[in-house]
């Protein structure tokens, strides 16, 4: 814990211009992609497992400019908590996609870390990405390496959990459609862009390699792994995640991912919706008498609350008498999930960076019972699944919150409907 030796960082900003189509469209449904909470690709595999509370969708990737050299990948995790399309190299090998370059001219590699310590590593390659009927051209995609050669220790960062297969991830990749245009864009700037003003490239993020030795590198924002929606010709200012309600476990839920906000007749922001403006891509949750929100908008310090379709439970700091599950149950390691003796009901208040406010209620059931009971153990939809935030620092509104809600995610810097605050924001 002693002996830190790190380079000084200094702030910097980069400006990008964006174009958003905000005229009313024809009203057709060409901006809709079907999604389903169905357990994912491993649910029916031998020795596989159900991915509970995960929404899946398909994407078609083509070599740039081609309409025939294409693959369609099913069962991508729909994740509003990340930005960019991430697929396994085995899925797109036949396309021979061109490399996206770092600022030093070498092919760029991306590394992303999950809070669990798991990571993804692989080159950035460009392809035309079609979701439903909408296409983004030359989208920088994270192509997850099946090989572990060259993965720098600053990427793995002590973990051996490389989620580079469907068996490891429980999905065939990740469709990141969150509130930023790229996976290294945040608060109107990208720390990974050479224009950031930083003296050295941040890590773990982008790298270039010489032989099997890879080190941090700057990558221009245009070449960073990019939220495909942000590169659509229209309907490119955000998405709506629509899932029906579920109050008890069930096998599947079918819904839709709608592209654009206020750009077509089917994606208008209703006047009844509460819009939560974000600071540091977070908002505030008041729960159990505690306030979980950013306390310093300049440094982004403070407890971090967020809405995230890619989290498969609600995760929040423990409250008295809410028992946690055991790490050694007949159905596996459930540590970190809640196991109350009886289902508990709670309410919380969500607040935006402005004064917008909305109450939200939820229930927490016993996770071990849910996964053990013959009636519920094979159900992918688990609306009352929750776990602890062990740091006591923040509230994660995962996919169970999305059931019965139309959740609007407006992309940072893009045009928004008349009367709405500047993006990024969430609304429902």
């Amino acid at each position: 814990m002693l002996g830190l030796s790190v380079a000084a960082g200094c702030g910097g900003a980069t400006t990008t211009s964006t174009t958003t189509t905000s005229s009313s469209g024809s009203g057709s449904d060409d901006n809709v992609l079907s999604i389903a909470v169905n357990g994912g690709p491993e649910a029916n595999q031998m020795n596989g497992g159900i991915y509970e509370n995960a929404a899946f969708a398909s994407a078609t990737i083509c070599a740039p400019g081609s309409t025939s050299n294409c693959v369609t990948i099913d069962d991508l995790l729909v994740d509003t908590g990340s930005n960019g399309l991430r697929v396994f190299d085995t899925e797109v090998a036949s396309l021979n996609l061109p490399a996206a370059k770092a600022s030093n001219g070498s092919p760029a590699y991306d590394c992303v870390s999950f809070v669990s310590g798991a990571y993804l590593w692989g080159p950035v390659q460009q392809g035309d990405v079609t979701l439903g009927s909408e296409t983004g051209s030359n989208v920088p995609i994270h192509v997850i390496s099946s090989s572990t050669t060259g993965i720098p220790s600053s990427c793995s960062n002590g973990s051996t959990e490389n989620d580079n297969t469907a068996a490891m991830m429980g999905a065939n990749g990740i469709l990141g459609v969150g509130v930023e245009p790229t996976d290294c864009f945040y608060e109107d700037a990208s720390a990974c862009d050479p224009a950031s003003g930083l003296s050295s490239a941040p890590y773990p993020a982008y790298y270039t390699c010489s032989g099997s030795t890879c080190g941090p590198a700057f990558v221009a924002t245009a070449n960073q792994v990019t939220n495909p929606v942000a590169l659509f010709a229209k309907d490119n200012n955000g998405v709506i995640v629509k899932l029906p309600s579920a109050s008890s476990p069930t096998g599947t839920l079918s819904g839709s991912l709608v592209f654009g906000i206020g750009t077509e007749s089917n994606n208008q922001l209703p006047s009844s919706a509460t819009v939560f403006t974000l600071s540091c891509d977070a908002f505030t949750t008041i729960f159990d008498g505690q306030t979980f929100g950013i306390t310093n908008a300049t440094t982004c310090a403070g407890p971090y609350s967020f809405i995230d379709s890619g989290s498969n439970a609600l995760y929040f700091p423990n409250v008295p008498n809410l028992a946690e599950c055991s790490s050694n149950t007949p159905v596996g390691d459930l540590s970190g999930l809640y196991c109350p003796a009886t289902t508990q009901s709670f309410s919380a208040t969500m607040k935006g960076a402005d004064s917008s406010s909305q109450a939200a209620s939820f229930s927490v059931a016993n996770a071990e019972s849910l996964f053990s009971s013959a009636a519920t153990s094979s159900d992918a939809v688990q609306p009352n699944l929750a776990g602890t935030n062990p740091t006591g620092y923040g509230f994660d509104w995962g996919l169970p919150f999305f059931y019965g809600v139309n959740l609007y995610n407006a992309i940072d810097g893009r045009s928004v409907p008349s009367g709405a605050p500047a993006a990024p924001w969430w609304a429902y």
Partner: protein, 117 residues
Amino acid sequence: MNASAQVMRRNAYDIHEIQMPGGTVVDEYISPAGTVFAVSWHGQFPPPMQQILGTYFQQYSAALQAQSSQPKMYGHRPLNIQEQGLVVQTSGHMRAHSGRAYLPDLLPTGMTVNQIQ
């Protein structure tokens, strides 16, 4: 050490704040005897764990490996490593990381873990 740093004084400990290259802030909690007994972090990128954990890095890495080799449900849950003499906990999501690591036996008298944030 050429990091951007500042020191805040508390009664039983000092906090040494370090700004990492990508903006991630790491706070070192230092006892009057000069021992770093805890670190916390928040930022777009996780901190270099080997640098902030020092000699505890191997224990952390082994605990991570043991945890990921157990059967468990899919999804990326916050990390909660409770080892003999070492606790490491995280929260957040991709490109938004918070966490803390501490040595429970070395917390100053009267200090609670909730003060490590």
